[in-house]
Amino acid sequence: MNCEECHEREASLHFTKIINGEKTEFHICEHCAKEKGEFLPGSNSFSIHQLLSGLLHGDGHVPNTPSSNFIPPSLACEKCGMSYYQFAKIGRFGCDNCYKAFESKLNPIFKRVHGGNTLHAGKIPLRAGSSIQEKKQLQQLKQAMQQYILNEEFEKAAETRDEIREIEQRLQQGRDT
C-alpha cells in the first residue's frame, strides 16, 4: 500500500482515528508522518487530562443516552466541593472523598483506563493494613455464618457469630484508642 500523503513511498504507519463514533483510517510513510508530526508518539501535545476529559464527558453528554446515564448537575463532592462536571472537565479528583461521591460513575472510567480493572490488587499500607485485613476476614465470616444458618448448622453458626463479635469489638477498640 502506498502512502496517502506522498503516494510514492510504502505506507509503514497505520492509524485509526475515531471521532464521535466515525472511524477514519490513515496509511502513511514514516517520512510524511515526521513532517505531519501529529502521528509521532510524544509529539502529540494532547495531554492525558484532555483525553480523559473527553472520555468522562462521553457519559451523559451524548444525546439519546439512556436516562440511567444522566448525571444531575448537583452531583458534587461534599468534602472539597468539586462537582462531577468539574471533575469531567479537568479529569482529576479534588480529594479522596470524590471517589465516594462519584462512586457510581467510576467503574466504566477505570475499566477503560486500566484495561478492564476496577479493583486494587497491590500494596496495602502497613498501618491501615491490619484493620483492612480484619475487615476482609469479617466479611468472609459473615458469609460463612449465613451459609451455616441456611444449612441449619446452628452450632457452627453460633461459633462463627462469637468470632465475628470478637473481631468487631477489636475493631471498635482500635477506633477508640
Binding site: E30, S45, G81, G94, N117, L119, P125, I132
Partner: protein
C-alpha cells in the same frame, strides 16, 4: 568555572555509576503517587492547606534526619528558586515540568546523590521518585517501597480497600506506581523497526515516549517505556510485565546493531564518523542535530567503531546541552540563537577532554 568542574557538578552522582545493560538502558525510574487522607488534593487546595501538607511532611523528615535508602534529604521550595534553577532540576529529571511551572507551594526533597527525589504538592501531595543507572527496576522499586513505608509510619495515606491508593488523576489510582526505563535505540530507528515496535508495545498496555516524558519527541533515539495501568495488578506484576518487554526490546536492538554491522559496516562507519566530525567542528548547532549526532557517537562507542571516547558522553551532553544548563553555564539568559552557539562550543570542548 572550568568545564570539567561544571560537568561534575551538573551530572547527578547516581548517573556516573554504570548499571546493568547500560549499553542500551540508560536509566530506570520508579515513581509512587501518594496523598494524605487529611487534606484535599493539591488541585483543590487553598494556601493554608498546601502549606500544612508541606510542614506536616517536612517536620518528621527533618526530625528523623535519617530516611532509609535516602539518608539526608534537602528541601527546596519552588517559590524560592529562579526560573533557570527550576529548569535545571527539570532537565535532570528531579522535578516535573508541572511542579516547576504550576504547583502552588510545590517543594522537592532530594538526597545527596540525587537518586531520590520526593515532590510535594505536585498533582498529588507526595510523589516519591527513585532513579538508578542501567536496567535496575527491582532495585528502584525496593528503594521507593522502603521510603514509602517510612513516610506511612508518620502520616495517614488516602487509601481505599477497593481502589487502593487514591490519586488526583484516575490514571494513577491503585498502586500509584509508574515505572519507566530510558532506552537508547539507534539501530531499531535506523533499521526502521521502531515504528512497528511502538504500536506493539502500546498494545501490551505500556507507553513509549520521548526523553522528557509526556508530549515530548524522541530526541537522540532515546525512548522512555513505562506502564500505563496502575489498577488491578500488583506492583510486582506491573514490574514483571515491563521488565519482560524491556528485555525483548534490548534483544531486538542488539540484533539490529548486529545486522547493521554485518551488512552495512562501511555505511555505518561513515555515518558515525561524520556525526563525530559535526560535533568536533560545528560552531552553531541546534539541539535536535546535537542529539542525533550524540546518539550516533554513542552507538559508535558501543560498537567499538569510535574508540577512546567515554560512554557517559551521551548521557552527559544530552542533559548539558538543554537550554537550562546552557544558560546556567553561561551565567545569563540566552536567546535560542545564542544557545546554539554555546551548545556547539560546549560540545567541542567536552570532546577535547577525551584522551584520544
Amino acid at each position: 568555572m572550568s568545564l570539567e568542574r561544571f560537568i561534575s557538578d551538573a551530572i547527578s552522582p547516581w548517573m556516573k555509576r554504570e548499571g546493568p545493560e547500560s549499553d542500551i538502558v540508560l536509566s530506570s525510574r520508579v515513581r509512587l503517587a501518594r496523598n494524605l487522607q487529611q487534606f484535599v488534593f493539591p488541585i483543590a487546595a487553598d494556601k493554608e492547606s498546601a502549606h500544612e501538607v508541606i510542614s506536616s511532611i517536612s517536620s518528621f523528615i527533618k526530625e528523623e534526619n535519617q530516611v532509609p535508602e535516602a539518608e539526608k534529604l534537602e528541601m527546596l521550595m519552588m517559590e524560592e528558586l529562579k526560573p533557570i534553577e527550576k529548569r535545571v532540576l527539570v532537565e535532570k529529571h528531579l522535578i516535573s515540568p508541572n511542579l516547576a511551572e504550576q504547583a502552588k507551594y510545590g517543594a522537592v526533597l532530594m538526597n545527596d546523590d540525587e537518586s531520590v527525589s520526593i515532590m510535594l504538592n505536585e498533582e498529588d501531595h507526595i510523589r516519591i521518585q527513585c532513579l538508578a543507572p542501567g536496567f535496575q527496576l527491582e532495585e528502584v522499586l525496593h528503594k521507593a517501597n522502603v521510603i514509602d513505608d517510612f513516610i506511612e509510619k508518620n502520616v495517614d495515606y488516602a487509601f481505599d480497600e477497593q481502589r487502593g491508593y487514591l490519586t488526583s488523576c484516575p490514571t494513577n489510582v491503585g498502586t500509584g506506581l509508574r515505572a519507566s526505563v530510558m532506552m537508547h535505540l539507534p539501530a531499531l530507528v535506523l533499521t526502521k523497526k521502531m515504528s512497528r515496535i511502538i504500536p506493539a508495545i502500546n498494545q501490551l498496555g505500556l507507553a513509549v515516549r520521548g526523553i522528557y516524558g509526556e508530549g515530548t519527541e524522541a530526541q537522540g533515539n532515546i525512548f522512555q517505556i513505562s506502564n500505563q495501568m496502575t489498577l488491578g495488578k500488583s506492583e510486582e506484576d506491573i514490574m514483571e510485565d515491563l521488565a519482560g518487554v524491556v528485555m525483548q526490546v534490548i534483544q531486538q536492538e542488539h540484533a539490529a546493531r548486529k545486522q547493521l554491522q554485518d551488512g552495512l559496516k562501511l555505511q555505518l562507519e561513515d555515518k558515525l564518523y561524520r556525526s563525530l566530525g559535526t560535533l568536533e567542528n560545528s560552531r552553531i548547532i541546534q539541539s535536535k542535530e546535537a542529539a542525533k549526532c550524540l546518539s550516533d557517537v554513542r552507538l559508535g562507542i558501543d560498537l567499538e567503531i569510535l574508540p577512546g571516547i567515554s560512554k557517559t558522553i551521551l548521557n552527559e551532553l544530552m542533559i548539558l546541552t538543554q537550554p537550562g544548563f546552557l544558560q546556567q553555564y553561561a551565567g545569563e539568559v540566552l536567546t535560542p540563537d545564542e544557545r546554539d552557539i554555546r551548545r556547539a562550543t560546549l560540545i567541542r570542548e567536552r570532546i577535547k577532554l577525551e584522551n584520544r
